[in-house]
């Protein structure tokens, strides 16, 4: 047997060919994301400290005027309204998503995948047109009102231009992002848990709150986030289904970059919106993750 000669053992050379390829693959997309996403965000922040020149063009500066302008009743009211609408959207989405996800996951049987596909397909097909569809339905000469008039139930109700129309639009637009995570959670759930719960709790409602809800918590939390974020920043629903009294933050931002032509203010608004979103999201993630650590 060969003699053990530890003195002669040389340190092995690194085989260099292993990770260069994967690192190289990362380089281009990362550069793209940095350039087009990270960098663009940075410019928004920079311009929020800017001003408008006399010719009406945006210019970089170091002024906090835009932020100070935000701190007034009109804008704050807008912020609270957006927050309220987004929360309402989330709440209604939960109320809709749970029964639907539950029905499909636990009673769907062979048709489960077809049902889910039938739910998903409309949601990924033109958000704009679907908002338009409601606008058409709910307008004063629309189908709903003519039905109401025709059946003598009422003289016509103004659906549009109300908070409920806007919230309804938001729900219609984003509820799928609540349904899917909850559905995925329910799919992974062991049905015998629910049956055991029914034995224990003697009632579907109590079983739901004591067994099903805690077990699908992860899906719920994910869904809340995925609905709240786009809802808060949305402007299409408010624009098409609402009016001046239902303006959301998104509408205001859009205004600054179109008719208002006040890009620095628009930037400041955007930054404020992102800041608010980040704060809310971090607080939310903190709260939900500490809950998850409970036994």
């Amino acid at each position: 047997m060969a003699v053990l000669d530890r003195r002669g053992a040389k340190p092995a050379p690194r085989s260099a060919q292993r990770t260069w390829l994967w690192g190289a693959l990362l380089a281009l997309p990362t550069a793209w994301m940095v350039a087009f996403f990270v960098f663009s965000m940075a410019i928004v922040v920079l311009l929020s400290f800017g001003r408008t020149t006399n010719d009406g063009f945006p210019a970089f500066a170091t002024s906090t005027a835009n932020y100070r302008a935000l701190w007034n009743d009109v804008y704050l009211e807008l912020f609270w309204r957006s927050l309220l609408y987004a929360l309402a959207t989330v709440a209604i989405s939960v109320l809709i998503a749970y029964p639907v996800a539950y029905a499909v996951a636990l009673h769907g049987g062979r048709y489960k995948n077809a049902l889910i596909a039938a739910i998903v397909v409309p949601f990924f097909a033109s958000y704009l047109i679907r908002m338009y569809a409601w606008k058409a339905l709910l307008s004063d000469d629309g189908l709903v009102n003519s039905g109401l008039r025709g059946s003598g139930l009422s003289d016509g109700v103004t659906f549009l231009n109300t908070p409920w129309a806007v919230i309804g639009g938001l729900v219609y637009g984003f509820v799928v992002f609540m349904i899917l995570p909850i559905y995925a959670s329910l799919e992974r759930l062991d049905v015998s848990l629910i049956e055991a719960g029914k034995d224990l709790y003697h009632g579907p409602v109590r079983t739901f709150f004591s067994v099903t809800l805690p077990a699908t918590r992860a899906g719920l939390y994910g869904g809340v986030l995925l609905v709240f974020l786009p809802a808060l920043g949305d402007f299409v629903s408010a624009q098409l289904l609402g009016g001046a009294s239902t303006f959301m933050m998104g509408n205001l931002v859009q205004q600054q970059f179109t008719e208002g032509q006040n890009w620095p203010l628009g930037s400041a608004l955007t930054v404020a919106m992102m800041a608010a979103l980040t704060v809310l999201m971090v607080a939310y993630l903190r709260a939900t993750s500490t809950q998850a650590q409970e036994p």
């Binding site: 047997m1 060969a2 053990l4 000669d5 053992a9 092995a12 085989s15």
Partner: protein, 365 residues
């Protein structure tokens, strides 16, 4: 560290040689200065529990893991810094790792195609190899349509067809059920004999290692505890770990005194062949359960009285627990031979005399 002596004349270069091969992962030593020679044409097994470093060693030989220090030689050549695709080594992976987008023939011929073999020769060799692993009629199928055993054979064929200097097998039978495993063990052994390629087989199943190998190396915590033929390793374990890992052993501790091991004030087991212990040393002694007899004792046997504590029937064998003293119990394995009549069987409470040949007493430090 003990490795069984091997005749290495100048003419027979080992297929694989490891010299002081070491691998550390973030501060802990996973493979500790391994030295090993595997002869050409050998069926060599690397046996050990999970985490002992056997798979890491395999990966270093294949080239998927860089050693921290030391060298790997394949066919006498230093390949430590050679990338896997240029080493004359092929691997059969535990998960088979078949290419799902190619059919069986595409999988098997993959390595040859990389080498630029002409179509006719390639097809012929693929057909031959498929015949060897008895998949001749499955050439055009996709891996997803094959059973576990068939997939395993495709993985083997795919690696073997390249005629490497050494074929590495990483627990290839682990995913198969018992009956299939037994069948595949026999097949693998037959194929190895037929093609004559060196096999390096990694497993945690000592049964597998013993039945298939020409030599076995027992690994534990990064070192090779013992290396030798299956009989060597089984009959003459050189460490407590080896004695316990391969098969079962009755392990007792005692003191070496005038050619015997005193395991209690009243019991001294003679061990005539043992050398290297001084008077008064603490030693361990191991006796295999099947070496202990309860009847038909011969004069040469060392005898020890005891009481049957428990008995369990295992079809071909019966296992008895026999106590010598209140806190020392030995396991005895008896073959259920036809001459035993129903009323001959031992029951708990019976006084028995155990006996075994002194050469079956293994003394370990």
């Amino acid at each position: 560290m003990s490795t069984a002596p091997m005749s290495t004349t100048a003419a027979t270069t080992p297929s694989v040689s490891l010299r002081s091969l070491t691998k550390t992962f973030g501060g802990s030593i996973v493979v500790d200065a391994l030295d090993l020679d595997i002869a050409s044409g050998e069926f060599f097994s690397l046996l050990g529990p999970s985490g002992c470093g056997k798979t890491t060693t395999l990966r270093m030989i294949a080239g998927f893991s860089d050693p921290t220090s030391g060298t790997v030689l394949v066919g006498g050549e230093d390949v430590t810094s050679t990338p896997p695709h240029r080493r004359d080594v092929n691997t059969v992976f535990q998960s088979y790792a078949l290419f799902e987008h190619l059919d069986v023939r595409g999988n098997v011929g993959f390595g040859l195609r990389r080498r630029g073999l002409d179509k006719a020769t390639l097809n012929r060799r693929v057909s031959d190899m498929l015949e060897l692993v008895e998949l001749g009629d499955r050439g055009k199928e996709r891996p997803s349509r094959l059973s576990g055993g068939q997939r395993q054979r495709v993985a083997l064929a795919r690696a073997l067809i390249n005629e490497p200097k050494v074929l590495l097998l990483d627990e290839p039978l682990a995913a198969l059920d018992l009956k299939l495993r037994r069948a595949m063990q026999a097949e693998l052994k037959a194929i190895q004999r037929e093609v004559g390629i060196t096999f390096l087989f990694v497993t945690h199943d000592q049964d597998e290692a013993l039945s298939m190998s020409d030599r076995v190396a027992i690994m534990n915590e990064g070192v090779i505890e013992q290396c030798g033929t299956p009989e060597d390793v089984y009959e003459h374990p050189t460490s407590v770990f080896a004695a316990g890992f391969i098969g079962t052993s009755n392990l007792m501790s005692g003191t070496w005194s005038s050619g015997c091991v005193a395991i209690s004030p009243t019991v001294s087991i003679p061990a005539p062949g043992h050398q290297g212990s001084a008077e008064g040393d603490s030693v361990s002694v191991a006796v295999r359960p099947e070496k202990i007899w309860l009847s038909d004792l011969t004069p040469a046997m060392f005898r020890l009285p005891g009481t049957i504590v428990a008995t369990s029937y295992h079809g071909a064998t019966t296992q008895h627990l026999v106590s010598i003293t209140p806190d020392l119990t030995l396991t005895v394995l008896e073959q259920n031979l036809p001459r035993m009549r129903a009323d001959d069987r031992w029951i708990p409470g019976d006084r028995v005399e155990m006996g075994w040949l002194p050469e079956h007493t293994v003394v370990l430090r």
